[in-house]
């Protein structure tokens, strides 16, 4: 049932004042969650696009005061309208709530408020006084009453959050506008410092992140999104090029409680880094002889050169983190052994198993049948996985499939094919990656799926496929491929690579470890706290979510570190206010693709230089060259700095 008395958000007004609760209209734009955290009610919300009131006992006047004080507090201090103007308004509102207001204050705030909206440099000032102006419009009597009554208004209880569309969309919540601004101003070291507050893998993410930030970039509404990912790469590379000592915080004093981390992938490494900064001795147990998990074995060198990842791992080990390679948990060491030696355990084993294609001959152990992840792993270790074969067929449409075909050329395979059961439009792989593969001469076969592996003397010699057509959309919204009866055909090949998905392998867990798993074989955790069913065991990353993107694993690895710290300090393990607020802002919607920004388009998004397709396809040299300094600064200058403040009144 609708329970919001008043809402003005994004130009949509819903005014239920004077109505009986059962007649309340549902606000059109703003869906206000009921609780801030269990048992704590959200009484009202104020933000960049307006405000909403659930409980009538909330003082709009005091809420405006608190909001303007928050804006003033967050004002970067650079442009005058925001820096000084919001101060004038905040002090005026403070005076009014102290019972010393004057009627003419209202006009002054209105006129100055408009000036700030119009004259400010960035979105903080361009939105800051907006809810106040709306409050003055729709709740003017309340202001007048306070001024007339000359009474003090009691202060409410508020929670404030500064965010931005990109920052909110980023699973690791990097402070993007600040690190971009640092680049625009030439302070590359500080930019990297800001990035490292939230991730220890800037060079890696700067290359392979799927960048949710860029699809939530307000510059998109004007011309093109900023190239946020490659700006991150730029500052990470700059530190390396200039051979600077990595700029990382000094770790806190060494603590006596120890943590074991299972898996040196993005989640495990990140968790280890932030725990090490807090002073915990960390040991990482890694099955392979190489750190990085899927980032190392699943991403080819031409996209993520090995030395970039290794350096980021070196930074982590420089904090005293120990990585025990070639150590398989469940075989070389058990969870129960770990429990004896360590005070907390983090499971970040990822999703490295292959999803079976369910075709005939898959389990026959034919030579030349190699699951995608294994294929890449072998190549990344510098080995041709099957030197006897020249012809390759990869089945799948994701980034792993694309990595397999592009890597195939690079180990000298002559005939490289990719089979996908839907069309190019539905392919989940990154558009830029698909395009690069096309340029390099991969033959794409759409709307077909393998049905049978054809083998001779235990070796793959071909694959039988069937044509597909697209039917009704499935739950993912993509149209479901349906086989066309009798359309089977045979393709000759030496190597067949299934790359249709990964799954989590939890076989290392023993029942007596007590870690619960889902029926899809993922680890069960509390989504806010990353706690498993065992109090001292935490988990995050792909082994919790199923195969997912790197940045989410990294983001949740950091969150897990926070939670493990709470646990080890004996405090209540729960999400921080900041985390809750970030999530809340996300629910309200920070980015509005429909928003009209009101400026003319400017310079185009800068493009990275790439090696030409005919030379790069034979080498593992990194395909894309990073931004040169001047280009990076030009690109960074396109940022609109879309900071905005959201605030909830809680009971």
């Amino acid at each position: 049932m609708a329970d919001v008395v008043f809402s003005y958000w994004g130009g949509k007004l819903t005014d239920n004042r004077g109505k009986a609760p059962q007649e309340y209209a549902e606000p059109e734009r703003l869906k206000l969650p009921a609780e801030f955290k269990p048992g704590v009610r959200i009484k009202a919300f104020m933000g960049w696009n307006g405000f909403a009131v659930r409980d009538t006992d909330v003082s709009i006047v005091d809420m405006c005061r608190a909001y303007m004080e928050a804006v003033q507090k967050e004002s970067c201090g650079k442009c005058f309208p925001c820096r000084v103007g919001t101060k004038v308004i905040a002090e005026t509102l403070d005076r009014i709530t102290q019972g010393e207001g004057r009627m003419e204050d209202l006009e002054l705030m209105e006129s100055l408020g408009h000036s700030i909206l119009e004259g400010s440099k960035c979105n903080l000032g361009q939105t800051g006084p907006f809810p106040l102006l709306m409050a003055l419009k729709y709740f003017r009597e309340e202001f007048e009453e306070v001024i007339r009554g000359k009474k003090k208004v009691p202060r409410g209880n508020y929670k404030v959050k500064l965010t931005a569309p990109c920052m909110n969309a980023c699973p690791a919540h990097l402070n993007i506008p600040t690190y971009i601004e640092c680049i625009a101003e030439g302070d590359f070291a500080d930019s990297l410092r800001v990035i490292r507050e939230r991730t220890c893998l800037p060079g890696t993410l700067g290359r392979v992140c799927i960048r949710p930030c860029e699809s939530n970039c307000r510059r998109l509404n004007v011309d093109e999104a900023l190239d946020i990912r490659h700006l991150k790469r730029f500052v990470a590379d700059y530190e390396i090029e200039k051979k600077r000592k990595p700029l990382i915080p000094t770790p806190q004093d060494r603590k006596d409680k120890k943590v074991a981390v299972i898996g040196a992938g993005p989640a495990g490494l990140t968790c280890a880094y932030y725990l090490a900064l807090k002073g915990y001795p960390i040991t990482i147990f890694e099955r392979l002889d190489e750190p990085g998990g899927m980032a190392a074995v699943g991403i080819p060198d031409y996209r993520l050169p090995r030395h970039i990842l290794r350096r980021e791992v070196d930074i982590i080990t420089s904090l005293g983190v120990e990585i025990r390679y070639n150590t398989e948990v469940g075989k070389d060491i058990s969870i129960s052994d770990m429990k004896k030696e360590y005070d907390a355990i983090f499971i970040g084993v990822g999703a490295q198993g292959s999803t079976p294609m369910r075709v005939e001959g898959e389990d026959a152990g034919y030579k030349g049948f190699i699951p995608g992840v294994q294929y890449l792993f072998s190549i990344n270790k510098g080995k041709d996985p099957y030197p006897d074969g020249d012809r390759v067929v990869v089945v799948g449409g994701g980034n792993v499939a694309i990595d397999c075909v592009r890597s195939s050329f690079r180990i000298g395979k002559k005939d490289v094919n990719l089979f996908y059961r839907r069309t190019r439009r539905e392919m989940p792989a990154d558009e830029e990656e698909i395009h690069a593969a096309e340029e390099e001469g991969v033959k794409f076969e759409y709307l077909c799926a393998p049905t049978k592996i054809i083998a001779k003397e235990g070796k793959v010699v071909g694959v039988e496929c069937i044509r597909m057509e697209l039917g009704e959309p499935d739950e993912s919204g993509r149209r479901r491929p349906v086989p066309i009866k009798g359309s089977e055909f045979v393709v000759d090949t030496d190597i067949l690579i299934p790359a249709i998905g990964q799954r989590v392998d939890l076989s290392f867990l023993d029942e007596k470890d007590g870690v619960q798993a889902t029926k899809w074989s993922t680890v069960v955790v509390n989504n806010e706290t990353m706690e498993t069913s065992q109090p001292e065991i935490f988990s995050a990353g792909d082994c919790v979510t199923g195969p997912d993107v790197l940045v989410r694993a990294a983001g949740s690895g950091r969150l897990a570190a926070e939670m493990i710290d709470l646990y080890l300090r004996g405090e209540k393990v729960e999400a921080s206010d900041d985390e809750r607020l970030e999530k809340l802002m996300g629910e309200i919607g920070v980015y509005d693709p429909e928003e009209h920004i009101g400026i003319i388009p400017g310079r185009k998004r800068e493009q990275l230089k790439a090696l030409p397709a005919d030379t790069r396809k034979w080498s593992f040299e990194e395909v894309e060259e990073g931004f040169p300094v001047d280009t990076a600064m030009r690109e960074a200058a396109r940022c609109l700095r879309c900071y905005r403040v959201g605030m909830v009144a809680i009971g």
């Binding site: 003033q72 507090k73 309208p81 002090e91 000036s115 200039k242 001047d630």
Partner: protein, 854 residues
């Protein structure tokens, strides 16, 4: 090019310009406060907002680039309201201490308030007064209440000096310009220069005056060879400050600590104002006629008895071209000797000889603008930041505004090392092997990595042959350079289209100095520095280093690099000759050889002279040894020209009236000639310049009264015409027995006149310059049990001094660097009398040394 409309006016403009720039070029006024032409625009003062058709929001002209077809309005009611409101907010709580404020009358805020006619303030906000405090340097005061938060100071610090000494602290209304790291401050005063109001003020001069009471005289700095253009601010015949203009000279408004704050030596005590003759150990002031006739008689006596070859002259490279020209003319034509030299030559000669041999020319036409545009820069020699800041800043400009790569050679982790892609921590003297190693790698890469047209240059085969053995492995073995780093540097050079090379002493002032430089010129030629536009540059310590040599203050050449008849004695040789009784009279103008030349030799030589005439502003160590002392003008007291290291001929303009009785050098020399019974006319600086134009072909087309700086000489096209690769093998000898260290003496030529030992006449600089110190590897110091600040004794085969140690992180082991901000330590004792056979320059670098704790 794009076409746009501003305020109804059709304008064609370059597309990489902002609306503000284009408007200004077209005479359309848009108010600004945070904008500064040298800084990246940030659009924060909001005064430059304009309306653009199609945009509902006003946009800032300083950050919006012009586009084809846009229609811009700069004056509308709405904009007026936004600007007035922004200005009122700026003015909120701005103190009304204009009558007290240094900037009053030259304040951008005052101008804006007047322009917008702001006479009332309806806004209020509380803010505590911050008062006045010392800034990141004791040379600048901060009045935070006057600050308008335009952030120009912070941006200048971050963008030009890249020092990060100051930063924005706090948020919201309480945000202010704060000090981030005073140790990072280099006291260049860039922040002070860009402050639009009186929030930052200089505190060297104790006398202050209103802007309209001052006279600003544009002249040329007299410290290093960059010859920055600056304005002396004069009040009642005193310099009370130094300012600069954005569009003048190589510095475009920037100055270093010396140029901006080092002026007060001009009014230093102990100024010599009367000629003096020493009789029976006492100085006696005498009239000019008496002094000059005495000197003339003595010189004539020496000439008569021992010949003109026993007379010598030494002139300071801080004298003007006109003074130097007349001085060498006096020596050559009146006395009849080629025994004339300058310490400027000791810095310049290795470079001149090296480029002469490889390129067949005496000078190169590169300017520092070429550096700022380069894509790969090689810096070899001194600590550019400390010695020639403006050049270092141009390097930085290329690095971070254009993305250039930096290859740095220096034994210490100097400030530029932080920004280098490849920092080679070499021992001084190992540069040649290093350069040969890079030549080897470039040759290996093939013609694609070389300069255009270089294949046709003579000597390429010989170079290939010579470079063959300098494989990365061999180079590593010889000089301890990582092969990986060398390969990376070669990669940068191979890719570069516009590489630039900058070098400075003590590089070249080592044993086999000319060969060292030749190795670098070979590399520069091969890599394309001479053909790609980046250039090969040498910067040096003295303001008229280049001019002094080009005017003929060299025993080897006449003015304009013309060959003379036979060679005279070089600076050091004159003292050698003196001690052997082969030189009897010496006329020193503005030089202080006891400080700058091998000490024991100079002492010996001075004692043996029959006549020592020293002309100087102050009673220098050398002047005390003289028989006759003559007063000299300061650079602020005369008209004339300097030629800077780029070959810019720049004016000195008379800003101060000299003390009574002081005379221009031309008059002194022509009187002296007359007393000797010869004629040498010198009417005025302008007249002498006219004469120089006539005899020195490089200066033929130049004007004395030009409004801007002029480049001397021609030959900007086809630098390869006479080029011949001149391969040189390693000539360096091993370390000398008993001397495990290699010592460089630095700073010795930089601060002459500002005071040695006790005086420290530039009191402003004295506040920020430390006492001399010896830098050594921190690691090695630890091993030897030497702490920071410990006193040590440094001994070379020629002498010893005691000095404090400064530990230097990352410095090459086995290397010592003695730095002399002023001359409290007699470092010249450590310098040996051996000369480079070709350049006749003693070694200031790679001096064998040992160290003991005392």
């Amino acid at each position: 090019m794009v076409r746009l409309t501003i305020d109804g006016k059709q304008i064609t403009a370059e597309s990489d310009k902002t609306i503000l720039e284009v408007a200004r070029e077209n005479g359309i006024y848009i108010p600004t406060l945070c904008y500064h032409p040298r800084l990246i625009p940030i659009g924060s003062c909001r005064l430059c907002v304009v309306e653009i058709e199609g945009a509902e929001r006003p946009m800032t002209a300083c950050t919006t680039y012009v586009q084809d077809g846009i229609v811009v309005r700069t004056q509308t009611e709405r904009l007026e309201r936004i600007r007035r409101d922004a200005l009122k907010l700026i003015l909120l709580n701005h103190p009304l201490d204009c009558p007290q404020c240094d900037a009053a009358g030259a304040c951008e805020l005052q101008n804006l308030v007047f322009e917008f006619g702001i006479d009332q303030q309806e806004y209020q906000a509380t803010r505590s007064s911050k008062g006045m405090r010392e800034f990141a340097t004791p040379l600048i005061r901060q009045w935070a209440d006057r600050c308008v938060m335009c952030l120009r100071c912070i941006r200048a610090d971050h963008e030009i000096a890249r020092a990060w000494a100051i930063e924005l602290v706090g948020k919201g209304y309480e945000a202010e310009v704060g000090i981030r790291d005073p140790a990072a401050c280099i006291s260049c005063g860039e922040c002070l220069r860009v402050c639009p109001v009186g929030a930052l003020t200089e505190r060297v001069s104790r006398i202050k005056a209103r802007p309209w009471q001052q006279q600003k005289v544009l002249t040329t700095c007299n410290y290093c060879s960059l010859g920055c253009q600056l304005e002396l601010n004069i009040f009642e015949n005193r310099v009370i400050g130094v300012t600069s203009q954005d569009d003048k000279g190589a510095n475009r408004g920037s100055l270093c600590v010396r140029g901006r704050f080092g002026y007060d030596f001009l009014h230093g005590t102990e100024r010599i104002t009367r000629p003096m003759i020493k009789g029976a150990g006492n100085w006696k002031e005498v009239p000019w006629e008496e002094a000059l006739s005495y000197v003339a008689a003595m010189i004539n006596k020496v000439i008569l008895s021992s010949g003109p070859g026993t007379v010598g002259g030494l002139i300071s490279p801080r004298c003007t071209n006109e003074e130097v020209y007349l001085f060498q003319k006096f020596m050559r034509e009146v006395v009849g000797t080629n025994n004339v030299d300058t310490t400027g030559r000791l810095c310049l000669e290795p470079y001149r000889l090296a480029i002469k041999e490889v390129l067949g020319r005496d000078y190169l036409p590169s300017t520092l603008d070429d550096v700022a545009d380069a894509d790969c820069i090689v810096v070899v020699g001194g600590d550019l930041d400390r010695d020639n800041l403006i050049a270092a800043n141009r390097v930085r400009e290329a690095l971070w505004r254009k993305g250039a790569h930096l290859i740095l050679v220096h034994p210490r982790r100097v400030r530029l090392a932080e920004e280098a892609d490849c920092w080679f921590c070499l021992r001084p003297g190992d540069e040649l092997v290093w350069a040969n190693g890079l030549i080897h790698l470039l040759l290996e890469k093939g013609p694609e990595a070389w300069a255009v047209g270089v294949e046709a240059v003579e000597g390429l085969d010989a170079l290939k042959e010579a470079a063959k053995k300098f494989t990365p492995e061999h180079v590593e073995e010889l000089i301890g350079v990582s092969q990986e780093l060398l390969t990376e540097a070669a990669q940068h050079l191979a890719k570069a289209k516009r590489p630039a090379f900058i070098c400075s002493p003590p590089f070249g002032q080592q044993p086999y100095g000319v060969d060292q430089v030749k190795g670098l010129v070979n590399l520069a030629l091969l890599a394309g520095a001479l053909t790609g536009g980046g250039g090969f540059h040498f910067v040096g310590p003295q303001a008229n280093m280049v001019g002094a040599v080009e005017m003929g203050a060299t025993p080897l050449l006449l003015s304009g690099y013309r060959p003379g008849n036979g060679r005279g004695l070089s600076a050091v040789e004159m003292f050698q000759a003196a001690s052997k009784g082969e030189l009897k009279a010496l006329f020193i103008l503005g030089e202080n050889p006891l400080i700058t030349l091998p000490r024991s030799l100079v002492e010996e030589g001075l004692k043996a002279l029959e006549l020592l005439v020293v002309q100087d502003m102050f009673f220098s160590e050398t002047a005390e040894q003289a028989h006759v002392v003559l007063p000299a003008l300061s650079f602020a007291e005369l008209d004339g020209t300097y030629t800077n290291c780029e070959g810019r001929v720049q004016r000195l303009r008379k800003a101060l009236e000299p003390p009574d009785g002081l005379r221009w050098e031309g008059e002194v020399l022509s009187d002296l000639a007359a007393f000797m019974g010869k004629e040498m006319k010198a009417e005025s600086p302008a007249g002498t310049f006219e004469e120089i134009r006539g005899v020195n072909p490089l200066y033929g087309g130049l004007e004395f009264e030009a409004s801007d700086t002029q480049l001397r000489g021609g030959g900007r096209d086809n630098l390869l015409e006479k080029a011949v690769f001149s391969p040189v093998g390693p000539t360096q000898e091993g370390q000398e027995e008993g001397y495990p260290f290699l010592l460089s003496v630095e700073g010795i030529f930089y601060n002459h006149l500002t005071g040695s030992g006790p005086q420290r006449r530039a009191q402003g600089l004295a506040k920020v310059f430390s006492y001399p110190y010896l830098e050594m590897s921190a690691e090695q110091a630890e091993e030897m049990g030497i702490g920071d600040g410990d006193k040590v004794k440094v001994t070379t085969p020629w002498g010893e001094v005691q000095v404090e140690i400064r530990r230097s992180e990352g410095m090459r082991k086995g290397v010592l660097s003695l730095y002399l901000p002023f001359y409290e330590v007699d470092a010249s004792q450590l310098v040996g009398p051996q000369l480079d056979a070709v350049s006749l320059v003693p070694a200031y670098g790679r001096i064998p040394a040992r160290l003991e704790k005392v």
